[in-house]
């Protein structure tokens, strides 16, 4: 089985982390991100536990803080589905879920991409 450290599913990025942090709570859904304009959603099939931070949490990449949207604990390879994106297999492990970002050149600030 391929060991997976990173995955990308549309505007959702997954990044393997060593373990779950303390300041989180489990939420009873397998949907990790839901789009605003289309209502489409990234949802797991399989044995996956989903958590959300109870206070803002960040991962630093290239010296830049990225806000964690959710954490997932994949117990056994699970399928991440979406109405338009192809289904991907996510291997077991603990991942931080991050949102794709872009730069707003008029406001001169970074913003999360909203599908």
């Amino acid at each position: 089985m391929t060991v997976m450290d990173l995955f990308r599913h549309g505007d959702v990025d997954g990044r393997k982390v060593g373990k779950l942090p303390d300041a989180i709570k489990q939420i009873h859904t397998k949907t990790i991100i839901r789009g605003e304009a289309t209502g489409h959603h990234h949802t797991f099939n399989g044995q996956v536990l989903v958590y959300e931070p109870t206070a803002p949490q960040y991962i630093v990449v290239e010296g830049e803080k990225r806000q964690v949207q959710k954490y997932i604990h994949v117990l056994k390879t699970a399928q991440l589905t979406h109405q338009e994106h192809a289904t991907i297999d996510v291997s077991s492990g603990t991942y931080a879920i991050l949102q794709e970002q872009e730069f707003d050149p008029l406001e001169q600030q970074i913003r999360e991409v909203m599908d």
């Binding site: 391929t2 997976m4 450290d5 990173l6 995955f7 990308r8 599913h9 549309g10 505007d11 990025d13 990044r15 789009g35 605003e36 304009a37 289309t38 209502g39 991962i59 990449v61 290239e62 830049e64 990225r66 979406h82 109405q83 338009e84 994106h85 192809a86 289904t87 991907i88 297999d89 996510v90 991050l98 794709e100 970002q101 872009e102 730069f103 707003d104 050149p105 008029l106 970074i110 913003r111 991409v113 909203m114 599908d115």
Partner: protein
């Protein structure tokens, strides 16, 4: 009676046909309900929760219904909602009656099928219609003679009057009629570039392009191709921007903005620079993983490397993007 644990091919086909009929009823019938039709059903619901018959208010659009509810809640007539009572004492009881007659695994199998018929947006945006999945499923079994419940018949009858959305209060109930017409594209997404996709009797319509919702003014500018590049760039929602850009014409937008290609990578990412007013801006042109179409996204101006910019967008380093990202869709 033994429970049903799977569907035969014939049952599956009949169920699909049944789902399609309900789909057509909700989205295309434009059924105009009458007060007389709903009164007895509402009286039945309120008797179930031990309350007298409420005032029935009927609206021609979803927006009108919601505005009216807001007005009610912001003035001296403020009322408590009894939705939880209706939920627990009527809906859940009706459901539990009929669910005991068919196995829930079959139900979950069908749930996704009904939703794939294109009713999904109703749940997201329009409320009550989201009950259609279990009503359709149960109605099928009722027609097959397996589900027998007077309460279900009444609950279904209320829906069949032509109700898009219903909100229950202590002394009043707010009903929104079905829309007159709903227009969709070939993939079943709400869509029209000629008229509102969801047309209500009072003209408070909803506008969509390929499943992406817009306010009327913005929709009009897009379909008339009068959107300025600046407005295009300011759109914070990528789906709106993508739809607008496609309609506006990607090449036309690029030509008008006179971009300069800075870098392109083996993975097909292209980094451009443009000057706009006092700003120098950089954007990536890349291929959408869904349909292979072009997308653009602005990145920080310090980038000069297309893959590095793409990696930044996706919360990783350039090395990770080029060498470790193995699963992408």
């Amino acid at each position: 009676m033994s429970k049903i644990t799977s569907l035969s091919t014939t049952q599956q086909e009949k169920l699909n046909t049944h789902c399609q009929k309900l789909h057509d009823f909700i989205l295309h019938s434009g059924k105009d309900l009458t007060r007389e039709e709903v009164e007895s059903y509402i009286e039945w619901i309120y008797s179930k929760i031990g309350k007298p018959k409420p005032i029935i208010l009927i609206f021609d659009s979803y927006l009108a219904q919601k505005v009216a509810i807001n007005i009610l809640n912001n003035n001296k007539f403020r009322e408590s909602q009894v939705e939880s009572q209706v939920w627990s004492q009527v809906r859940s009881q009706v459901r539990s009656q009929v669910e005991s007659q068919v196995w829930s695994q079959v139900e979950s199998q069908v749930r996704s099928q009904v939703r794939s018929q294109g009713l999904e947006f109703i749940e997201q945006s329009f409320g009550y219609g989201y009950e259609s999945w279990w009503l359709t499923f149960t109605e099928y079994w009722k027609n097959e003679g397996i589900v027998k419940s007077d309460d279900f018949n009444s609950y279904l009858g209320l829906n069949r009057c032509g109700i898009w959305s219903i909100v229950y209060f202590e002394k009043s109930v707010f009903i929104c009629k079905l829309p007159i017409k709903i227009l969709k594209d070939e993939r079943g997404r709400l869509h029209s570039v000629k008229s509102p996709s969801v047309q209500w009797r009072d003209g408070l319509d909803n506008y969509f392009i390929h499943g992406v919702g817009f306010e009327k003014d913005l929709w009009q500018k897009i379909v008339d191709r009068k959107l300025e590049p600046r407005e295009l760039m300011k759109m914070p929602n990528t789906d709106q921007r993508f739809v607008a850009l496609n309609h506006y014409g990607f090449e036309r937008a690029l030509t008008e903005l006179a971009p300069k290609l800075i870098d392109q990578s083996k993975r097909g990412n292209k980094l451009y620079s443009i000057k706009f007013d006092a700003y120098t801006m950089k954007f990536l042109k890349y291929t959408d993983t869904v349909n292979g179409e072009n997308r653009i996204s602005f990145v920080k101006p310090e980038f000069d490397d297309a893959d590095e910019a793409m990696a930044w967008k996706h919360n990783m380093t350039k090395n990770e993007y080029q060498n470790k990202l193995r699963v992408e869709a």
